[in-house]
Subunit: 412 residues, 2 copies
């Protein structure tokens, strides 16, 4: 059975006209003889409207009831898309997460998929129906509705592709693919034809909101090729796939930034062995995820430990951080929200030692001060002043000549 | 297990404040030690909004997909009510029709309940949770969501009361009970303390939109006492219950009217045996429900057959009626939308032959012409000009002295 799974995000189904557009796109595929499964998100800002209703009732919604509420968003869009397909004269049926039996664990609001029963979908496909599935949602062992958290519809799409052994997995949104930088900031940013899972993961984690990291991880594990493109035109997009070491020709494939960081400095912590372990394990207990870390040992055996966390964690964890720091004997805790992280990502970076130097010197030449640095196999990130981040993206994009990338240079 | 089932209609949960009000009312009952099951409808006009969305896509929605769409309305309200109850500090859980397993047949948009599995509700009640159930919806044998049609939440409520062997079944809305006439029309209409199922059925069918006839029928079959009252205050309402023949003291318990009728006259049909049977069975095949029927045999063996149908059926069935009439050799079909049906209802009417005469002569004395008459054991209906119907209600309410009803005169 040749199955294609397509996903259309919230902005692609935000209005009745856009839903009709998606219906026509789906039908186009169906008419080629494919078996088509379509995953959709809730319409545009409908989830925000539900959250607004909820906030009128409680500031701390019960997680199960929040899922009960929020899962209605996709249920509306699947029904409307299915009707739009039928209105064009093609057979269709919509299914919620619970009807497909997208089984999840019991963690409401950020459930993990534990298994998918593909029998209902397969039987509907055998009847030559276009099957429209609600993204973002599943059902736990008690038949309670769960949601998968941010980017959940992407995860649904990849998981369904795995369960259905789909020949293609296509993710459509309002962006045309993966670029060397944010095209709103760098108008001549190049669209990549191909990108590796690893690079995509770094880009996704770094705030390029095209594709959710969990979906990329899942695609990597099962070696599912993803096609990322726009639902508003038929321009070619970007393929996310595995890549051989030998193929890693390119040094830098993109520049990305993240304005959601807060820099915390725990000042003058007495330098005892294991003190960093204590600090960060206590933060972990409070579910505060750390991003970058720097430690400066000073002349008087007092440490300054600096790290970054995202802004939500800061709001949530401010008190805990202060009390943990106090417990460890630190003098004070400073925080700075006016920072941003700029990163260059590239699968071949590890084998090109000059890359980091070029990054630092380009920023330095432009008078941009680097506050912190972290590196991984395929990325280098610098923390800089938030006000300078747009300028920094432009400088690095030019420094690595990303506007003029020919396809030969790209990872194939 | 002492279980109370309460139902709150759409206007009772139309806003966040009203949902909070319902939460407090429900908790009040819970604090008395009762096990409380609450059935709610969709918020205010949210169903209309969904229908508007749908109408942007298709004029003939697929019934299954329409149910997929519309069932989200109650799912939103159950989640919000459950959160509102918890916000007040009491345990609650919401369940959709499919989660309760309110089993229905496969007739989407107007499904009939075939069975209710009470195990999930009972187990949640045993945990002392206030269980909030979505009205109006169920699930068929394929696990597809169904809706019960107009007034479906009332039916859900009575069916749940049966399945749970509830000690009380209470239906709250924006009206305070059952009146001798529409209080908006007759300000001194009396609220009835009690009314029989049979009278309530006639009133419900006749357009007193307080309680759906199917719910009353179900209550009658299982002898479930219904309490009808307002959700906006604690004034005493009306009890709907079975009644012994001996108790039927009252002649007329209410006046009601229905402006939703269209009078159709099929003119000059050749009078052959069985021709009426042919006409009405053909209409039945087209799902056109007939209300009143009159036949006049004329001197030349040509029949005029007159009947009434409701306005929706008229829009839907106009063409069919014309072609059926043509087939039967009728000369023409006339229709008149400017008619209304006025009815008096009373359990004791059958034993009081003077009632009909009083009704006709009261209308006649006021110059109101009666176009058609139908009677049953407990009602007499007259078709009159629509423009005269308000006047007619006032005249009959006065003629039968319904403003001054003492409780002694009422059916107990």
């Amino acid at each position: 059975m040749d199955i294609v799974v397509q996903k259309y995000g919230g902005s692609s189904v935000a209005t009745i006209d856009r839903i009709k557009n998606v219906a026509r796109r789906v039908i186009k595929e169906y008419k080629k003889g494919k078996n088509v499964v379509v995953v959709v998100s809730a319409m545009g800002n409908s989830t925000d409207e539900l959250i607004k209703l909820m906030s009128g009732i409680t500031k701390r919604p019960n997680p199960r009831e929040a899922d009960m509420l929020l899962t209605t968003g996709e249920q509306v869009s699947i029904a409307l898309l299915s009707m739009a397909i039928m209105e064009e004269g093609y057979p269709s049926i919509s299914l919620t997460g619970s009807q497909v039996k997208i089984r999840t664990n019991n963690i409401h609001n950020s459930a993990k998929i534990t298994g998918i029963d593909n029998s209902r979908i397969v039987s509907e496909l055998k009847n030559r129906k276009i099957v429209v599935v609600a993204g973002f949602q599943g059902v736990n062992s008690k038949d309670d509705f769960t949601t998968l958290g941010r980017g959940g519809s992407d995860t649904t799409t990849v998981a369904l592709s795995v369960a259905l052994k789909a020949s293609r997995c296509e993710i459509y949104s309002d962006v045309e693919g993966i670029y060397t930088a944010d095209p709103r900031l760098i108008p001549d940013a190049s669209k990549l034809d191909f990108i590796s899972y690893e690079e995509m993961l770094e880009l996704a984690n770094l705030g390029a909101k095209v594709l959710h990291p969990r979906a990329v991880e899942l695609a990597k594990i099962y070696n599912i090729k993803l096609y990322i493109a726009s639902s508003f035109n038929y321009k070619s997009g970007t393929i996310v796939k595995g890549v051989d070491e030998l193929e890693m020709k390119l040094n830098v494939s993109g520049v990305t930034c993240d304005n959601n960081e807060v820099k915390i400095t725990v000042q003058k912590v007495p330098d005892k062995p294991g003190i960093e372990g204590k600090l960060f394990s206590k933060l972990a207990e409070k579910h505060i995820n750390i991003d970058m870390i720097i430690q400066n040992l000073q002349y008087n055996s007092l440490n300054d430990i600096t790290f970054t966390i995202n802004k939500e964690n800061f709001v949530k964890g401010k008190k805990s951080i202060n009390s943990i720091a106090k417990e460890l004997g630190a003098k004070s805790v400073e925080s700075d929200k006016n920072v941003a992280k700029i990163s260059i990502v590239g699968a071949g970076m590890i084998s090109s030692p000059g890359i980091a130097a070029k990054m630092f010197s380009s920023l330095g030449a432009a008078g941009i001060n680097i506050q912190m640095i972290t590196t991984s196999d395929i990325k280098i990130s610098c923390l800089i002043k938030e006000a300078e981040v747009d300028k920094a993206v432009k400088i690095l994009h030019r420094a690595f000549d990303l506007s003029n990338m020919s396809q030969d240079e790209q990872v194939k």
